[in-house]
């Protein structure tokens, strides 16, 4: 958790008036400090319910203190603080109050203080204070934004209105929508007004995503698992019966059956593993990953591990990778490896014997550039071919992406199947993925990992012309903190020599 600087600029010299009033404010301040501290501890411990009541109390005191502090800064110091505001007659110690501002800033829950004018004046409802968490979530400034610019949900707006104008506490829930869907419980409470801002309300948001996702996933997991495990299980039971019965003493049949049973058991194990992995990813999907990972290295590692499969099928990889240290992306290394693994695995599976799989990585692309990365006119103009996005990140300025493109020369996919590729257990009709049949979860896993990383996922294909899968992830600084490798300005080719190699293993 980032530490907020206790005082952004050097605190103003306390003037005589500040000294005179300090003792009056002191007791209120102490109460506020204790309560705010207790809340932070409770909230961090995750005891949301117990914390909620106390939190409200603490915020009430702290907010009062914040508003008073600002008045003091204005009165006592020459220049007002950058976030200047309310005139209030009860000044307090600026140092202490700054602590409460920090306490509010540090609170993990998004917290807003909303001020209002008249009930019918929508533009009068403004954000008087938004803490760090709220600013990040709602993309608003610390102070002064229109309330509706931050929050449009009608139920929440109604609850805020009831606190502002009816003096009522309300609790509502709402779903934020968007790719990383989050569920929020929103508490609104009336706050005592100040002379300059007679109507104030406090809005505290609690993240309920974990609970909701858990509920839904338990149901999904059971449904999926029981449905998909039934087939291999039925086959196992069948063979066991046969082995107990008339094939009891037939040695050749027994060996053959045991081999099939072994494969079915493996399939069940893979299924369970993939289902568990998907559940884990879904649980953390709304939490941004913290690590960083070099996409080039990840690709090289996975390619090495796949050597036996390549050799078995006589498939070759053709690489077009930037130099090591050029493609740093923000992400969980294990999960990124899993994405690369699933994509390369698929490409090998669907490649004909002796086919070549093209694996390219490119860097420093804008979102627009990533979305139209190296289209193939032949596939796009084919009668039943096309390209579409399976996952598009929310637009955000200044993010550059590193893209991985995996192209095979397999049977390809018809246009109408493309949107369904990331569905669980979706299988393209009439297509066999070969001996080592997949679980039908590979691309679903890719999609969820990509979504968690705020990346994108594209497919381009035409029947008989192979398939191309692209994933792109937001880039980040290299661990040294220096320039993330060679800059590639879309129009100019890579200045550094890129690694172009071909591995022949057959």
């Amino acid at each position: 958790m980032p530490l907020v600087r206790a005082s952004p600029e050097s605190p103003p010299e306390p003037t005589p008036s500040a000294f005179a009033v300090r003792s009056q404010g002191a007791s209120a301040i102490v109460v506020g400090a204790v309560a705010a501290g207790a809340v932070l501890i409770l909230v961090t411990l995750g005891k949301a319910d117990a914390a909620a009541g106390l939190l409200t109390a603490a915020v009430l005191v702290a907010v009062g203190a914040v508003l008073n502090l600002r008045a003091l800064y204005r009165g006592a110091a020459r220049q007002a603080t950058p976030t200047d505001a309310v005139a209030s007659p009860a000044p307090t110690d600026p140092g202490d109050v700054q602590t409460y501002v920090s306490a509010l800033e540090l609170a993990p829950n998004p917290i807003l203080v909303v001020s209002a004018e008249e009930a019918d004046d929508l533009a009068g409802r403004r954000i008087a204070f938004a803490n760090a968490s709220a600013r990040e979530l709602l993309r608003v400034a610390r102070e002064g934004a229109l309330l509706v610019a931050a929050m449009r949900n009608p139920n929440v707006l109604e609850a805020i209105d009831e606190s502002l104008f009816g003096g009522i506490d309300r609790v509502v829930t709402y779903e934020a929508g968007g790719p990383q869907n989050r569920f929020w419980r929103v508490r609104t409470n009336p706050l005592p007004g100040t002379p300059a801002r007679p109507r104030l309300a406090l809005v505290i948001m609690e993240d309920e995503t974990d609970i909701r996702i858990n509920e839904r996933m338990r149901a999904d997991f059971l449904a999926n698992a029981s449905h998909e495990l039934r087939t291999p299980l039925a086959s196992l039971t069948g063979f066991i019966e046969t082995l107990r019965g008339h094939a009891k003493d037939d040695e050749t049949a027994r060996d053959r059956f045991l081999a099939i049973m072994g494969r079915q058991a493996e399939r069940m194990a893979r299924l369970i593993e993939d289902l568990m992995s998907l559940s884990r990813i879904e649980l953390s999907e709304h939490i941004r990953p913290s690590g960083i990972c070099d996409l080039t290295v990840a690709v090289a590692d996975v390619a090495d591990a796949l050597a036996p499969q390549l050799a078995a099928k006589g498939v070759t990889f053709e690489f077009g990778l930037p130099a090591k240290g050029a493609a740093w992306v923000a992400g969980d290394r294990d999960q990124l490896i899993q994405v690369v693994q699933n994509l390369l695995d698929n490409a090998i599976k669907y490649s004909p014997v002796g086919g070549a799989v093209k694996v390219d990585v490119d860097i420093d692309l804008t979102l627009d550039a990533a979305a139209v990365f190296r289209p193939d006119a032949r596939r796009l103009s084919a009668p039943d071919g096309g390209r579409m996005s399976l996952q598009t990140p929310t637009w955000s300025a200044d993010v550059r992406y590193a893209i991985l493109r995996v192209a095979d020369v397999g049977p390809g996919l018809a246009r109408e199947t493309l949107p369904r590729l990331t569905e669980r257990f979706y299988r393209v009709e009439g297509q066999k993925s070969g001996e080592r049949s997949g679980t039908g979860l590979g691309l679903a896993i890719v999609k969820h990992i990509v979504n968690r990383h705020r990346g994108g996922f594209l497919v381009e294909s035409a029947p008989g012309q192979g398939a191309v899968f692209c994933v792109y992830f937001p880039m980040t600084q290299s661990p040294g903190g220096s320039q993330p490798g060679p800059k590639n300005d879309r129009n100019t080719p890579l200045t550094e020599p890129s690694v172009r190699e071909e591995i022949k293993l057959s």
Binding site: D121, L122, A123, R125, R139, L146, L147, V148, A149, M151, R152, N153, P154, N155, L157, E175, G177, G178, P179, N181, L367, D368, A371, V372, P375, A377, L380, S381, A382, P383, D384, G385, G386, R387, M388, S389, T392, T394, W395, A397, R415, E416, T417, L418, P419, R420, E460
Partner: protein, 254 residues
């Protein structure tokens, strides 16, 4: 595709201090009301989709009941816009913002109508046998459309040109979902005639969602016009190229 900033816009920036303080407040008020109406329309769409996927009759009925609020808001915003034009005679960006608010209000009202229509069909669909794979597909498409609407409205409240352009360019995904769903529905209807009633209604639900997706694109166009003073020129990029016309495209209006 980044839009050029019109000279008129630069002129605007220097005029930003309104001679009449009230005028700026009235414009803010208008924008706030459009944003609130947008939030309501968003909630209507989300609830309508949930009513279909969860077979929730009570939710569907409440969506139908709430539609009137959108109608009232639209009239209110139109009245205020006209009043503002008549009394203040805004020019340049102020005029575009006022006209934009009127256009937004009518788009959001129509979005609400489609949501209401989806909710009505949800009532019929929930009477039939559940067809889980189809309702899941509807839900997926619905989430996609709702996310686009959210992005479009976000770009309206923040006046973010790049975000608006992003919404404008990426409507292909919704169309693809619609086409895929269309084929799937046909397959179901052919294989089991008892499904025809539910499937026909789902077809309209999908069509309505597709229209709502188009409205999100229109909102992005309004944002572009409001900020730059220029209309977006040219066609939206279509990845599908020739394939699009050849495919059995059920969208005859396109």
């Amino acid at each position: 595709m980044r839009a050029r900033i019109a000279p008129e816009f630069i002129f605007d920036m220097s005029m930003n201090e309104h001679t009449l303080k009230f005028f700026g407040e009235e414009l803010n008020q208008l924008k706030a009301e459009v944003a609130r109406m947008g939030g309501l329309a968003e909630a209507q769409v989300a609830d309508a989709i949930a009513a279909v996927s969860e077979r929730d009759v009570a939710l569907a009925e409440s969506v139908v009941g709430r539609d009137r609020r959108l109608d009232l808001l639209q009239h209110d915003i139109e009245r205020k816009s006209i009043r503002l034009i008549a009394l203040r005679q805004p020019v340049a960006q102020d005029l575009r913002r006022t006209v934009g608010a009127m256009k937004m209000a009518s788009i959001l009202e129509r979005t609400g109508d489609y949501a209401k229509n989806i909710a009505k069909r949800a009532l019929v669909i929930s009477e039939g046998e559940p067809i889980t794979p189809l309702t899941r597909a509807i839900e997926r498409m619905g989430k996609l459309v709702a996310a686009r609407l959210k992005d479009a409205l976000d770009s309206y409240t923040s006046a973010e040109l790049d975000q608006a352009m992003n919404v404008w360019q990426n409507d292909e995904e919704v169309d693809e979902h619609y086409n895929s769903l269309f084929r799937e529905l046909l397959t179901y209807m052919i294989s089991d005639p008892r499904m025809i009633n539910s499937c026909a209604h789902m077809l309209f639900v999908a069509k309505n969602l597709e229209r709502i997706g188009d409205y999100a694109t229109n909102i992005a166009e309004i944002v572009h016009y409001e900020v730059t003073g220029e209309e977006i020129m040219g066609d939206r990029p279509k990845w599908g190229g020739a394939a699009r016309e050849d495919a059995a495209d059920p969208d005859l209006e396109a």
